[in-house]
Amino acid sequence: MTDTAALAKEREQLFRDLFSGKTPKRVPVTNPATLEFAIQYYGEDLAEAQWDLTKAESALDKFCHEFPTDTTPIGSIRPPAYYQLLGSKAIVMGSGGFMQHPEVMGMFPEEYDDFIAAPYDFIIETIMPRLYTELDTDPHKKAMVLAKALQAHLDDYAFIGQMRARVNAKYGLVSPAVALTEAPFDFLADFIRSFKGISSDLRRIPDKVSAACEAVLPLMFKKGKLPNTEMLGYSFLPLHMAPYIRNTDFEKFYWPTFKKLVEALAEAGYNVQLFIEHDWMRYLDFLYELPENTIMRFEYGDPRVVAEKLGKKHIISGFYPITLLQTGTREQCIEKAKELLDIMAPYGKYWFQGDKSIISTDKTGNTAKNLRAVLEYVMENGTY
């Protein structure tokens, strides 16, 4: 076995141990910066390199070489061809080239009953053409649009897969597979009714909101499944709305189907990673109830309190404040990493990740310098 193959094997074992609740040999490290960051850092134009991913490969290669990490630093890149061919409103490119999800509404409040009766049909027939406007046409043209978009999507992802395989082979990195899904209430907010819409619905038509969450639960389960339970990976749920609603609303609308979803995925043998966006400190007792070894990447909160409440049962990650890399000194940045290791590592299930993803470079260049120093520090000192 070559050195890099052995290294990849060792890294895979780190994550297999971590995900099964066994203390790994050392703290696994994921570089919080994504391919978008690497593209800009190594001087490529972000918009252009996303259209022509061959321009991203040398950036990715250098990035893997210069910034220590255990997992391939690609992140959730969204090549724009697919979205443009579909006429997407749900995912669009900003002027700086970064693909993002603006507030969209795929369904009007008076349509809840139809949605609840047959959510999949309603999504395909009514919501998709609203959010992906090129699908708003006759069936023949729609078939052509879908064929073109899917071809572009498959081409881009095939290239990303090959590029990933090449850097993994060269640097001994691993890429846990990801099946993206959402808590039912989040799915309703993000793509169906909008943040604004759902905030009014839960006061005006609460029973319909609950029924809609139940209706999409089977779809969210299906979407969260990896091809098999043996592969290294996880179902990934970026959690969105809970911090923005009252506790009583959380208990009534968000929690019941979210809990069922995580339990069903765990029961079926999948690891589950939650990206716990914003402030969930008032919901820690709920998070405790989720199946053992749920991976919880935190954006916000008091790491000490989270570790005490959840550290024995669950796999805790995140918390490293990436904006500090831009504004802090090298010493402050390393001190913060040390502080988190001191709090988390004693529980034996800590995974080093950022509180958010780093998607852009900054003018001063501090982010890159400090990021490298922090990654080197955690790689060397990440013992349990």
Partner: protein
């Protein structure tokens, strides 16, 4: 019309009650003075909403609904409001900065500052520094609000403040930044006067500046 009851209903975000009371009021052919008192009672109700947000009894979703409620209320009251201009607390130019398309936080801040009597000039999303500069020249606001969710917004905020500086307009305005990635350190780095991740607090800061 029991104004205290109206204020309480707005604070409770009791939409059927608020809209019911206002429709009845509008149908009673009120004077401009009576209408002004009702508008003021609604504004007091919005202050309660802000206080409950500070007390962590309400959250962002409730603020969004409060904005909806206020728009419905104003739609009912407009026909009986009379023609005279309402006195503005001050002028704010507001936008999501360049590169960022997120506007939920900006819109909440907008509806809350309008409820507090500010005239808000909303430049939308993904707004280049130059657009801020031009609008400042045009309307001469006391306050400029920069909003963003993505971390890349921090650099855009810095560029925007720099552009305002370069245009010689910095001394005439207070600048507040808001959104998920802003911190005290980011505020210093950007050169803004204040930062907040809390729209209600942001409105209070702005009120402090113009009082």
């Amino acid at each position: 019309m029991d104004l205290q009851l109206l204020t309480k209903a707005v604070g409770d975000l009791d939409e059927p009650k608020v809209l019911g009371m206002l429709k009845e009021f509008a149908a009673s052919n009120p004077t401009a003075e009576e209408t002004a008192a009702v508008v003021s009672a609604c504004q007091k109700g919005m202050t309660i909403v802000g206080d409950l947000f500070d007390a962590k009894e309400y959250f962002v979703g409730d603020l969004i609904f409060a904005g909806e409620l206020l728009s419905s209320a104003i739609a009912i009251l407009k026909p009986v409001m009379g023609g005279e201009e309402t006195v503005n607390t001050g002028k704010i130019i507001l936008a999501t900065v360049e590169g960022d398309l997120h506007d939920i936080g900006k819109n909440i801040f907008k509806s809350m500052s309008e409820a507090a009597g500010f005239a808000v000039y909303d430049l939308g999303i993904d707004t280049p520094p130059n657009a801020f500069v031009e609008k400042i020249k045009e309307v001469q606001p006391q306050i400029v609000g920069l909003s963003g969710v993505l971390t890349l917004a921090l650099d855009s905020m810095k560029n925007t403040v720099q552009a305002i500086n370069d245009a010689g307009l910095r001394n005439g305005v207070k600048i507040i930044i808001g959104g998920n990635p802003v911190t005290e350190e980011a505020c210093k780095m950007i050169g803004a006067d204040a930062y907040t991740t809390n729209a209600a607090e942001g409105v209070k800061i702005c009120q402090g500046w113009v009082s």
